[in-house]
Structure formats: C-alpha cells, structure tokens
Symmetry: C2
Subunit: 194 residues, 2 copies
C-alpha cells in the first residue's frame, strides 16, 4: 500500500488545519511532516488556499459516500436518517480531525475570499433535509432544516469538544459520558421526528 506524496500531503494538511485552523497552520509545517520543503507542497497544489480546498473536497466525498451506502442498505427513510446521523457521529468521534475541520470551515468560510467548502456541505445538508421531509411529510423545508441542524449540532458539538471536555471533567467521567451519549442521541433523534 503505497500512498502518493500528494495523498500524504492531504492527510498531513487535514490534521494540521484541524489542529490550528487555516490561518494557524503553515504550509512549511505541513511539508516538514513528510520531510519535504514547502515548495514541494506548492508544486503539487499551487497555493495554500487550493490545498485547503482539496482537503475539504476529499472530506466531503467521504461523507457523501457514507450516506450513499446507508441509503442503499436501509430502505426506510426514518432508519436512513437515524443511521446517517449516528454514522456521522461515530465517524467524527473516531476521526476528530474531520469533525474539527468542518466546524472550522463553518466558522471561517465567510472570512476567506474563496469559500471552498460551501457547496459540498450544501449537498450533504440538502440530503438530510429531504430525508427528514420524507419521514415526516408535514414538516416544511424550513422546519426540516431546523430539525436536521439541531440533531447535527447535538452530535457535532460533542465530537468537537472532546479534548476540552476531557480537560474540564477528566477522562474517567468523560468515558462514562461517551458511553451513554449515543443512546441519548438516538432518543433525541426519535423525539425530534415524532
């Protein structure tokens, strides 16, 4: 299993952007992780903004692929939605870099000239919204979006806060909380759709 230099750059960049944000991460530091110079990075990606865009694109493709798989496996829309949200939660708990990266993009994309990630997020959200609507057809699009966002927020916020929460409440306490979080989240999802 050989990973191309390009892919290694993308992986290293994802981690550093997640840790420090777009401004805080430097391309020289990313390159140093592979033992290369920043000019090697620039050779592959042109500039920092484009690198960031590619990282985001790769991430959103992974998200979309997951949802597509779930949509295939489960016929019932209510199950689909529940599984999509829970899968996304589990994924973000496992790969917290991706969770933090999306959160940062939510915060930053207005600031940066090129709004690289907007449109990928859009597709992802639209899919969830329309799934909610097919579960509960009395919900307007606007209300379905509110529901989706609350559930997404409940999960994403927690995933992103893990290091801070470990700091505040201690690892032991948080291990227990993590243990019951998913069950509680499932409850919340069902309540929101009832």
């Amino acid at each position: 299993m050989t990973t191309s230099t390009r892919e290694q750059f993308l992986a290293a960049a994802e981690q550093l952007f997640a840790d420090k944000g777009f401004y805080g991460a430097s391309i020289a530091t990313i390159a140093r992780k592979l033992g290369l110079t920043k000019q090697a990075l620039l050779h592959h990606f042109g500039n920092k903004e484009k690198l960031y865009g590619e990282v985001l694109r790769a991430l959103s493709e992974r998200l979309a692929a997951n949802n597509a798989a779930i949509r295939q496996r489960y016929p019932d829309p209510a199950e689909q939605l529940e599984e999509m949200l829970l899968a996304q939660f589990r994924g973000q708990m496992k790969n917290q870099d991706s969770a933090r990266l999306i959160m940062r993009e939510l915060l930053d994309n207005e600031q940066r000239a090129d709004r690289a990630g907007n449109w990928y997020l859009k597709d992802y959200l639209e899919e969830l919204v329309s799934t909610v609507q097919s579960v509960n057809s009395s919900y307007s699009r606007a209300r379905a979006l509110a529901v989706v966002y609350q559930l997404l927020g409940a999960a994403h916020y927690f995933a992103v806060s893990q290091p801070t929460l470990d700091n505040i409440f201690g690892k032991r306490q948080m291990a227990i909380t993590r243990g019951c979080f998913e069950e509680q989240l499932r409850r919340l999802i069902r309540a929101a759709l009832a």
Copy 2:
C-alpha cells in the same frame, strides 16, 4: 455614556477574535479599529494572550450573570433549565460574535499554551448539569452532561452557522427557519428531560 479605551479594546478584540480566531486576528488590526497603535493595546493588556483571556473572562461573566438572573426569576428547575438554554440561544443569535468566540475556544484551547477559558466554561457547564439532575434525579452526572451537551450543541451550532447557512440556503429560507427554530428547540429540551 463614555466607554474607556480599555473597554473599547475588549469590544474590538472580541469581534476580531470571533471573525478570525486567535491566530488570524492581529493586535495591530484590533488597535487600528480605535485609531491607535498596537503598543497602546500592549500597554493595557501586556500581551495578546492576556487580552484574549480578558475577552473570554468578560464573556463568561455575562453568561454567568444571565444564568443567575434566571435562577432567581424561576423557582422550578425544569423552567430554569429551559429558560437558561433558550436565553443563551437568543443571546447567541443576537450577538453572534460571542457564539463564534466560544466555539473557537472549544476548538483552540488545547492548542494554546495558556488555556485561558477552560475554567469559566467549567462553571457554566456544571451549573447546567446540576440543574438537569435536579429536574430528573434518575440521571447520573455523566448522563446529565450528555443531555446538557446535546441541547447546548443543538442551539450553539445553529447560532454559529448563520452566515454559512445564509449563503447556502438564502436569506429568505433562513428567516423562516430561524422563525421555527426556537419552538423546535423547546420541544427538544422537553423531550430530552422526559
């Protein structure tokens, strides 16, 4: 109503930290907003990290004061919790700088040497957790934290995403969604405690 230079610095800093994050915001830019030089700022706050800490402290004091007022006004814990969460949501929708600032702190505080904001957030969270426990005494501390965090996340995530959502779905659609968000949130809060 004269605001001291110091207070003006804090206000300007809050805004810029919220916009660009700790790394992205420069003290020179903050000072320029008041027509002063960065050395004036350094005169008042010593260094960037301390300025950031003071901004966070001021913010957390506002949060604590709001909660204290609610705790006084409402005798019933269930009402207290609902009002605290909704008040926090409304506050964050009105002052989105503060919402983004807290979110950024959640993401960044592990990275920065001095973890300025940890302990303020701690008090705030503990208060909510213990309120949940007095509403539903069958919840363990760990489970109460899970519940609190889900509800907090549902609200905070939405507040923080406003500019991005406006971009994706358009201002009209989002105005409608904002209109039904709070009612939906209230439903979610009650469901989580039942």
